[in-house]
């Protein structure tokens, strides 16, 4: 008789098991959410690194490219200069390592609607290569999104500039920030001394 007093009845055990199963279900669901969150972070991390590597390769392989402002009415004299347009929120340049195509391309990077957009158009294709520009239907990639801050800084001859036109910088700083993280990308331009200004201008004038 004493043995029966120490034991649990079936109903007591079932109730205990029901409460336990509720606890376990809640725990499993929270684990599942944690797992989903982790896998999402993992994907974002890899995607961010890939985007960074592609962007870095594209910027550091920037190329000296001479364009001519010649216009029969507005600029009757030849006016040679390097193709580069850098502002605080956008930048255009010619690169030897584009993301989408395997030849030289004109690239426009733009901070727009909390995103960093990458536009690319092959230089020798459907555009006038003496006045390079990206088109509305050019290949596009969202490099980073949900940005609270996105701006470019240009370093040239020891100075830090907010805009630079018609000359290549020695390095570019890209300042990005999301709601919980801030990143600074510092990228040197790997210029080839054989493609110096004098060399290209001589070459351009020769022909």
């Amino acid at each position: 008789m004493r043995v029966f007093r120490n034991a649990f009845s079936m109903v007591e055990t079932l109730v205990a098991l029901f409460i336990l199963s509720l606890l376990i279900t809640t725990a499993v669901y929270s684990f599942r959410f944690i797992l989903l969150d982790i896998s999402k972070q993992e994907f974002l991390g890899i995607d961010r690194l890939l985007s960074y590597t592609q962007l870095r390769a594209s910027i550091e392989s920037m190329r000296y490219f001479v364009v001519d402002d010649y216009d029969a009415f507005l600029n009757p004299m030849n006016n040679l200069h390097y193709f580069f347009m850098g502002e605080e929120t956008k930048m255009s340049y010619i690169t030897q390592s584009p993301i989408f195509c395997d030849s030289i391309a004109v690239v426009k990077l733009e901070c727009k609607e909390q995103k960093l957009l990458y536009n690319e158009e092959p230089l020798y294709g459907r555009i006038d290569f003496t006045q390079p520009k990206t088109l509305e239907d050019s290949a596009q990639k969202i490099v980073f999104e949900n940005l609270q801050e996105c701006r470019f800084l240009y370093h040239k001859d020891g100075q830090t500039l907010k805009s630079l036109q018609r000359d290549l910088p020695t390095s570019i700083e890209l300042k990005l920030a999301t709601h919980n993280q801030a990143f600074d990308f510092y990228i040197n331009i790997a210029t080839d001394h054989n493609l110096s200004k004098a060399y290209i201008e001589d070459y351009a004038y020769e022909f």
Binding site: F4, L20, R48, Y52, Y186
Partner: protein, 139 residues
Amino acid sequence: MHNRSKNAMITLEVLVSLMVLFFAIATSTAAMKLYASMQIQKQNYEELYIATTSIIDKIKSDICSKNMLMEGLYNGFSYRATCSLEKESQNYQKAFDLGEPEGLIGGYQLRLYRVDLSIEKNNFFKTLSYFLMTDERLF
């Protein structure tokens, strides 16, 4: 009464089942915790990659040529770069005419340095070394 006792579970059985359940939950929690810490470690490496490539580019123009030691803070990482000379030589000068000297007598002094870079953030510490060459015009 005898039949009722067969349907009931004794305290020991319930305790054993609860212990097994506890171990199962504890093991899965430990596995999740480890997985989460590995994710943090992976995120640290991702941030380290971005920070390191940026720091190397940022100090490139000054390290070894102007400063032998550079320290600072970048993307939340504190870094310290030291520079040590490995080898130096003048560049190769080719003789263009008979009797002209030829050899390592050119107008540039080339120096090969080893840069040791240590980076730290929240007890996450990494070191790496790379070589850097500088040139100085002699005449």
